[in-house]
Symmetry: C2
Subunit: 229 residues, 2 copies
Amino acid sequence: MTAKTHAIVLLSGGLDSTTVLAMARAQGFQCHTLAVSYGQRHSVELSAARRISMLLGATEHRQMHVDLAGIGGSALTDPRIAVPEAPTGGIPITYVPARNTLFLSLALGWAEVVGAEDIFIGVNAVDYSGYPDCRPEFIAAFETLAALATRAGAEGGALRIQAPLIAMSKAQIIRAGVELGVDYGETVSCYQANAGWGACGRCDSCRLRREGFIAAGVPDPTRYAANPV
Amino acid sequence: MTAKTHAIVLLSGGLDSTTVLAMARAQGFQCHTLAVSYGQRHSVELSAARRISMLLGATEHRQMHVDLAGIGGSALTDPRIAVPEAPTGGIPITYVPARNTLFLSLALGWAEVVGAEDIFIGVNAVDYSGYPDCRPEFIAAFETLAALATRAGAEGGALRIQAPLIAMSKAQIIRAGVELGVDYGETVSCYQANAGWGACGRCDSCRLRREGFIAAGVPDPTRYAANPV
């Protein structure tokens, strides 16, 4: 692979996607990072994404908007639905309908324009929240779709959906990121982080993150709004 | 099928998607129509979509925004790229990267929220402009993806992508719509229609539409801005 190869990296500003960006950079990709604003409560992620993109030497950062709040149906986009602070079983109410499908579709469009043959996404099927669009079979189906959906695919080009974290535990992800020099103090994972980045320490995302640092044996640099439970 | 079955219908306000809405209504679906604003030049389509949704008895109409102009790369979203007025061969510059993938993804999210098992889209592989995301294999791949991407799919539910026009000629589409009582004078197909709905009569979309009316033997109700060439 040449050092000139372009990739789109979906970057939320959280722990997982930041690790993915570090991995793509370590492989020599010129990274075009994409943060999607979708009416999420935790928009503090969006400024974290911009900052992390610069810190990790991405070529270009863009923020695009899709109207997932207009669709509704999730605690992450609908202020009338509370974010649960304990596991509920099944697919949780923090699931945003079609979110990863939309994110990958935006990345796909941008990949066509910049001539990128790789799209990186930080989905994870181990320490995850039970979302259907985080599974390996979903990623494989999107890669098949991408080849059919695009000019490049129709003309015989390749388009790979790279999900390097998909089979890793949170602890493995954290250890891999630390080896690549990632400062996780810059990342925001909490579903209800406030503008001062204070993480609640109680939501599903905070819980998975906190347990990950403990399991990895790495000090947790997260700034909590209050002492976690 | 009961008359209570819900469907999402992607509605651009053009000839094809209006015919699809008429077909879905004739099959007894309660139709939730979705117009997507994506920075297109021909935003006059968006008001046509809203009007047509009401005229054809849809249950609900929504307009959602995605930032395809931010991606760029198409004559339909980038004012620096001219809309061609003659066929150019290959995939034309009016192709919007990942457009149908994004449209179907938004429809998918809304389908999950309203409990619709059917998504209708007016793509056509016969009298079309050579876009890769209008082919039957693209639609089939999206249906596979949809089953994997959603809560309903993960829990064993169905999700069908219905593309009833895919194998029809423009003349057949027009005849089918006329039989269902569609007034094509309400629809807007032109890539550069102005606010008074005057169609240019020269772009690819106008040309296909005009030839369709001639082939169907149906008077063309299109309001042209000037005499077509």
